[in-house]
Amino acid sequence: MPVKTLTIDGQLITSPRDQTVLDAARGHGIKIPTLCHLDGVSEVGACRLCLVEIAGSNKLVPSCLTQVAEGMNVTTNSPRLQDYRKMIVELLFAERNHVCSVCVANGHCELQELAVAVGMDHVRFEYQFPQLPVDVSHDQFGLDHNRCVMCTRCVRVCDEIEGAHTWDVSGRGHNARVITDLNQPWGDAESCTSCGKCVQACPTGALFRQGATVAEMQKDKEKLGSLMQAREKKQWVV
């Protein structure tokens, strides 16, 4: 197997040449925070949390979309990166209505975990408090736009693993929303197979099982990775 040799945080690493910097780092126990990354689906580089520094360039690059290269020298956790990561998490909290104490995902939420990881004890930016709808037209699941961080993991898991492509994104920037079918209520979306993979893929309480109350919505994203492993490598993990 052709390999590349590179340095990550001062550690000399040998990695398969088609790996991303994120995978190479994780393979060697170096933690880089992520939010839009989900094992088993394609990368979009949307959340910018996995940005890293590469020696010789002033640009920060998303490690999930950067291929390893020979002699590359990567820094994953400089003070500059820590500052930006904290700022990104604060901006996510300020953008929609994230109220941990009354959320179905309280205690099981990747956004809440990230706030802990980046050391956020308050938010320096003004909360936007947008008025956003909740869609509970589906008979098993619900969508709360207040808690959505636009990671698009639901969109990718539905398209790439389930093959239904019920989810997509409408609007741009601040007005972007995840939608089902032709921007109609989830319950009316005929392409939805009700498989629930989107609910498992969602990092926050935005997609939830109906009937779950505060702190009850636990997710199992490992299952999605196992599905991909079974399909691509014919390895079945129970």
Binding site: G107, Q112, V116, H122, V123, F129
Partner: protein
């Protein structure tokens, strides 16, 4: 160090943070060796005094009374701690913010007979504010409510003259 002048303040919150403070149980007796409680909803004092050393502020700034109070508290206190998610982010108290200004929240609930007696019932602000949006805050203690152990860690550090440094799970919201 002499005895600290210590206060606790209850703005727009459910008093859960104060309940959590009381959960310090026997450590409150230890605390009482080092502080004089000069103002608190748990003490019968009408006016917030001058030259307070340390205050715990629970709740968000939700009405004109909260607004006057927090400005007075800041002006008269050396170290101000935002206690709990409502003080830090607005949290449950700010759930009304996306619904619009105060009247848009009051009318659907009370109809045209909504409470409107300016010097008797505090007037709601159009937007619930976090404490640090109104006055500078020195330390933040997240949690809904913050567990007693977290409050203790912060108070203990301050009593020893150190800056409190909550980290890891000790800064978890919710």
């Amino acid at each position: 160090m002499g005895r600290l002048k210590f206060a606790t303040v209850w703005l727009g919150g459910c008093s859960g943070c104060h309940m959590s403070f009381l959960d310090l149980d026997e450590w409150l007796i230890e605390l009482a060796q080092h502080v004089d409680v000069v103002f608190s909803p748990l003490a019968d004092v009408k006016e917030y005094p001058d030259n307070v050393d340390l205050v715990l502020v629970e709740g968000a700034v939700a009405n004109d009374e909260n607004l006057d109070m927090i400005r007075k508290v800041r002006a008269r206190t050396k170290t101000l701690i935002a206690l709990g998610d409502c003080a830090i982010t607005g949290n449950v108290t700010a759930l009304r913010n996306p619904l619009g200004v105060a009247l848009e929240v009051l009318r659907p609930v009370y109809g045209e007979n909504y409470p409107n007696e300016p010097r008797i019932v505090p007037v709601l602000l159009d937007r619930v504010l976090a404490v640090h949006e109104v006055v500078p805050v020195d330390h933040y203690v997240p949690g809904c409510p913050p567990p007693a152990s977290r409050i203790k860690a912060v108070l203990q550090a301050l009593l020893e003259g150190k800056a409190p440094a909550l980290e890891g799970n000790e800064i978890r919201f919710g």
